[in-house]
């Protein structure tokens, strides 16, 4: 079945390029992985179209048995429903473009890139396993596979210490979330005696009143919901567990695009939608999701306003946009969150690849303070960057407008305190988003050139293999919003989703969104335009303003520039004490006690040996005496213990 091909083709490409990369050469590896991805994309999109418009029914493609242990039966199986098909189509499509783009971006690499392409395909495969999983353990398999691939790719330039540190950081921070996710899966199994999604969803009502007692009695669904969400926080870089995402910039730019757009960070949002039957039974967990999402959206946007690294700004914007998606999930509008996930995938991939194109043009420079005035030299990049920024800022009619607008409407329509909090944060963040998007645009392309003469001479448009994907993505970022809106959240949403997402019995957010006061709908657009205007004022009309403000509000500026000191805080509270503990365990626990015991025993043995040998004097009298003593000893023992 084509659906299985869509999922497994990237794996084939990854294995061929990874194991035979040296044998078949660099070009062939690139060709194989890209062909596999194109095949996957064709199959993935076809499967999606078939399901939505040609009436292919929901189904499960079983690939084989995985585990049999007691009451636990696991299959390798691909779930085929709207949610999975949508995700598969999006992932394969975006990942294919990123693969193609990488050919151009990695062309100046001194070492063979077959490894890079193998990892990229592995990354895509892991994400596809995740989204098409029919049981939680396979989902976790994909979840961990994504983590592994991100580790490999962030640390792709393994001779760069900062890349290694970033890779380890990403892996470790993700592990924190994974732990909670794993516990959540265990608790799910504990509650439902199954990790198969159909079984779980079918018995939701039976276990509605289950409780779980640990440090007090909890409602089982609330606990599962919170645990799953903390897992999602790690993958989707929500506040607290977001620290790895900006550092993930250490990998090659296509990796950032893949992480931020198609794979990895969207996994958490997907998980919320996938587990919507459970989540919608857990209002407390959902409130938590909304608060974290709203906070992240605003918090990341504030940091994005002052960063100077072009990729870092975009990275924080991802963080912020993911916050939006969780706000939508938190108010029970999972469809809206997936809608934003899809549109975001287009414009975020576009922005990252365009940023990569800029970096490529600037000979590797990433600091916006050393750019400027290059828009004439890189017209295509400039144009698509505009489109991406317009979409990100939520300007009509670009993709981001429809989805972001819908999120804010949904949070407003929820009518709850947390929903209002999400709305407020989202609106403020929308203003900041527009501001920093134009800040990037203006600093990078306009004004006087701040790069040195040498770099400026080399500024050139990227080759077609890079601009091609950019143009495709730009089209997507332009049309995805209004083209998909009717199906995802508009008139046809019931038919489109076909019950692959459950909103909960009393949740009518999607219906209520339709009749909100007009101002609520236009508010994000208005704030967005205001943000653009402010950026124009600060970076074109009055370029001295930013530094003036930075001086005036130095503490705030430093707080934002240093990313709210999260890294420093973690370093102080977690990393350093952990290092001290590890050092203590090593020096005291391992070197002294664990090594000490065998070493001490060995010394004791050698000492006893010396003592024992001393008895052997060679004197026959001593020998006879020893025998007699032994005899007396034995006789006494015998007589005493008989």
């Amino acid at each position: 079945m084509i659906y299985a091909v869509a999922v497994l083709a990237p794996l084939a490409g990854s294995i061929i390029a990874g194991l035979l990369g040296r044998a078949i050469g660099d070009r062939a590896s690139q060709a194989v992985t890209i062909l596999c991805m194109i095949l996957a994309a064709i199959c993935g999109v076809t499967a999606w179209v078939q399901h939505i418009w040609l009436g292919a029914p929901d189904g499960v493609v079983t690939l084989g048995s995985w585990m049999e242990a007691g009451s636990l039966h696991l299959d390798w199986a691909l779930r085929y429903d709207t949610l999975a098909a949508t995700m598969v189509a999006m992932v394969t499509f975006i990942a294919t473009l990123i693969h193609i783009y990488s050919v151009g971006y990695m062309s100046h690499e001194p070492t063979p890139t077959s490894r890079f392409f193998s990892y990229l395909s592995l990354f895509s495969f892991a994400m596809l396993m995740l989204v098409s999983a029919n049981n939680l353990v396979q989902l976790f398999f994909g979840w961990e596979g994504v983590g592994l691939a991100s580790y490999l790719l962030i640390g792709y330039w393994y001779d760069k210490p900062s890349a290694n540190a970033a890779a380890i950081k990403a892996f470790v921070v993700n592990r924190v979330g994974d732990l909670f996710f794993a516990v959540g899966i265990a608790l799910t199994f504990f509650t439902f005696d199954s990790v198969e999604l159909p079984t779980i969803f079918a018995s939701i009502q039976q276990h509605a009143n289950d409780t779980y007692a640990l440090f007090g009695v909890h409602h089982a669904y609330e606990l599962i919901g919170v645990l799953l969400f903390i897992g999602a926080m790690g993958k989707s870089a929500q506040i607290g567990l977001h620290v790895w995402l900006p550092d993930a910039m250490e990998g090659p730019t296509p990796v950032s695009a893949l992480i931020h757009a198609a794979t990895m960070v969207t996994a958490g949002v997907f998980l919320m939608a996938r587990m919507s039957p459970i989540m919608s039974m857990a209002p407390g967990a959902l409130a938590f999701v909304t608060v974290i999402g709203g906070t992240t959206a605003l918090f990341a946007a504030t940091i994005g306003c002052v960063q100077n690294d072009i990729k870092r700004v975009i990275a924080y914007s991802t963080c912020s946009q993911l916050g939006y998606m969780f706000v939508a999930a938190g108010v029970g509008a999972y469809q809206v969150s997936i809608f934003h996930l899809i549109t975001h995938a287009f414009f975020k991939a576009l922005l990252f690849l365009a940023a990569g194109s800029v970096i490529h043009a600037m000979s590797g420079e990433q600091d916006m303070r050393k750019m400027g005035g290059i828009w004439r030299s890189v017209p295509i990049t400039y144009a698509v960057m505009w489109i991406g920024s317009l979409a990100l800022a939520g300007i009509i009619p670009f993709a981001g407008y429809y989805s972001k607008d819908a999120i804010l409407e949904a949070s407003y329509a929820a009518g709850s305190a947390t929903g209002d909090y999400g709305y407020a944060c989202g609106l403020l963040a929308a203003f900041l988003t527009a501001f920093y998007s134009w800040r990037v645009l203006l600093l990078t392309f306009h004004g006087t050139p701040r790069a040195d003469h040498h770099t400026m001479e080399h500024v050139h448009e990227s080759p077609a293999v890079m601009t091609g994907p950019l143009i495709v993505l730009a089209i997507g970022a332009t049309v995805a919003g209004f083209a998909l809106r009717p199906y995802f959240i508009g008139d046809y949403w019931h038919a489109y989703w076909n019950n692959s997402i459950t909103n909960g019995a009393n949740n009518h957010v999607l219906e209520r969104m339709e009749d909100l006061p007009g101002l609520v709908g236009y508010a994000p657009l208005i704030t967005g335009v205001l943000g653009i205007g402010l950026a124009y004022v600060m970076y074109v009309l009055r370029p001295e303003l930013p530094s003036l403000l930075a001086d005036r509000f130095a503490p705030i500026y430093r707080l934002l520039l240093n990313k709210w000191y999260f890294d420093e805080l973690y370093d102080m509270v977690l990393v350093q004490p952990y290092r001290r503990l590890a050092r203590a365990l090593w020096q005291v626990g391992d070197a002294t006690i664990i090594d000490g015991v065998p070493n001490g025993l060995a010394e004791l043995t050698v000492d006893s040996s010396a003592q024992v040998v001393r008895v052997q004097t060679g004197s026959i009298a001593v020998y006879a005496f020893t025998m007699l003593i032994g005899l007396v000893l034995l006789v006494s023992i015998f007589l005493v213990f008989r």
Partner: protein, 473 residues
């Protein structure tokens, strides 16, 4: 009277006399011929043993059963290997005298009597015949001070041990009124009525026999005698007499004193633990390989005694299997030690083995096999020896004993592995003189047995099983 029960012993004694006469009559050097004749006598005796019927004879003095046959064959194997190994050694050390094979044959007769003894008196006679020959053999290099000292020490301490044994026998006779094993068994049916005097007698008997198998704390003679005696004699002492003395100990403990298991068990456990500890600890400090082997044999006897301490048929079977594996790996090790000879001079230091892995890979490989086996590393035969005694101990609920056995074998592994390290990782040693064929044959044969035991353990296991059953029968 069924005198034919003792036919193998009678034939072997006659052979010994004949060889002696032959050696005296033939004026020129007849050692080689006498040695060969001795080997022939061993072979003949072995066949007679296999053919002889089972039964009790000589008024209850002498018993032939599967247990006795098993032990006798093992004794003959040990004796034969010692004779073969002596050929080359004695020529180099100018010890070529025809009395050597005669003494070994006579000693073997004594051991066979020990294995068949069914009366405290025949027990003592066999033991003394065996011992007297070995006293002489230990001092065989009489011009050498070390050898003479070894013989004398063994004799004096052996006399003490014999005295203790005799005293024990007299105590048992005094309290039980008989020296016949079967009658003693009947007399001791009710352990509650046994007088302390008889029990003390048993302790004395155990002491005398423990001396012979060099179990701690009656082992003090072993390192000195092993080191001083000519190496083939050491090899002989570490194999056949150990088997014979172990046979005696097993038979006396299980047959006449079997009902007193609860009482002597503690004793054997103590002796076993002491032997294992002493054997493994003291061996670490040794630089002479012959002394090392002495402590090693003390340790091995400790392990073997675990099986006896278990006091079950499974335990006895374990001891028998242990003795089989021990005899072959010990003989093989001594073959390698005797082959250590540079420019005509025998080498006895562990350091002399350095570089053997390069200069003589085959010999080094053989030594590796024996050392791994002694350390009890699978799949060598030594592992199975330990396995069966530990198994018996665990089945009998003697966890402490098994655990101590495992721990001391860890310590033991250190000095066995050290030899391998010296052979392969230390450099410097010159090549040894070319190996004589006799030693190569012994080393190769025992090496093959040790390595391939695990392929076909059936015959040995079954024979040991039958022998153990016979003892309990």
């Amino acid at each position: 009277m069924n005198w034919s029960l003792a036919l193998p012993e009678i034939v072997l004694s006659c052979c010994a006399m004949a060889i002696l006469v032959f050696g005296v009559v033939v004026r020129e050097d007849s050692t080689f011929v006498c040695t060969m004749l001795g080997l022939g006598a061993f072979l003949l005796t072995a066949m007679l043993i296999l053919a002889a019927p089972f039964g009790t004879g000589y008024g209850g003095l002498f018993v032939v059963d599967p247990f006795a046959d098993f032990m006798k064959l093992l004794i003959l194997a040990g004796g034969a290997m010692a004779v073969v190994m002596s050929l080359d050694y004695n020529r180099h050390e100018r010890l070529t005298r025809f009395e050597f094979p005669v003494l070994i044959v006579l000693s073997t007769v004594g051991m066979m009597v020990m294995a068949s003894a069914a009366n405290l008196m025949s027990l003592y006679l066999g033991l003394e015949l065996q011992s007297l020959c070995i006293y002489v053999l230990a001092a065989f290099a009489r011009d050498e001070q070390r050898s003479a000292e070894a013989g004398l020490k063994y004799f004096v301490l052996g006399a003490l041990a014999s005295g203790l044994l005799l005293y024990g026998i007299s105590l048992v006779y005094g309290f039980a009124g008989t020296m016949d094993f079967a009658r003693i068994t009947r007399a001791l049916t009710d352990p509650v009525t046994v007088s302390p005097g008889l029990v003390v007698g048993i302790v004395f008997i155990v002491t005398g026999l423990a001396f012979k198998i060099s179990a701690a704390p009656f082992h003090m003679w072993t390192p000195d005698v092993y080191e001083g005696a000519p190496t083939p004699v050491t090899s002989f002492m570490s194999t056949a007499p150990k088997v014979a003395a172990m046979a005696l100990l097993l038979r006396t403990m299980v047959a006449p004193f079997g009902h007193l298991l609860a009482q002597w068990q503690q004793l054997i456990v103590l002796v076993s633990i002491l032997s294992m500890l002493w054997g493994s600890l003291a061996a670490i400090g040794q630089s002479s390989i012959k002394r090392l082997m002495a402590y090693s044999s003390i340790g091995h006897m400790g392990y073997a005694l675990i099986g006896l301490a278990a006091g079950t048929a499974v335990g006895i079977r374990g001891v028998l299997i242990y003795m089989v594996t021990y005899v072959f790996m010990s003989a093989g090790t001594f073959a390698v030690i005797i082959a250590m000879r540079r420019r005509g001079r025998a080498c006895e230091q562990i350091n002399d083995l350095s570089g053997l892995g390069r200069t003589d890979p085959a010999m080094a490989l053989a030594m590796v096999i024996f050392m791994f086996s002694m350390a009890g590393i699978p799949p060598m035969s030594g592992f199975f020896g330990k396995l069966y005694v530990f198994l018996a101990a665990v089945q009998a609920g003697m966890w402490t004993l098994a655990v101590i056995g495992v721990l001391t074998s860890v310590i033991g592994a250190y000095y066995y592995l050290r030899i391998i390290k010296v052979m392969y990782f230390d450099t410097g040693g010159e090549a040894f003189d070319p190996r004589p064929a006799s030693l190569s044959v012994i080393a190769a044969g025992t090496g093959l047995f040790t390595t391939l035991f695990f392929v076909l353990p059936g015959p040995v296991l079954n024979a040991a099983q039958a022998a153990a059953q016979a003892l309990f029968g």
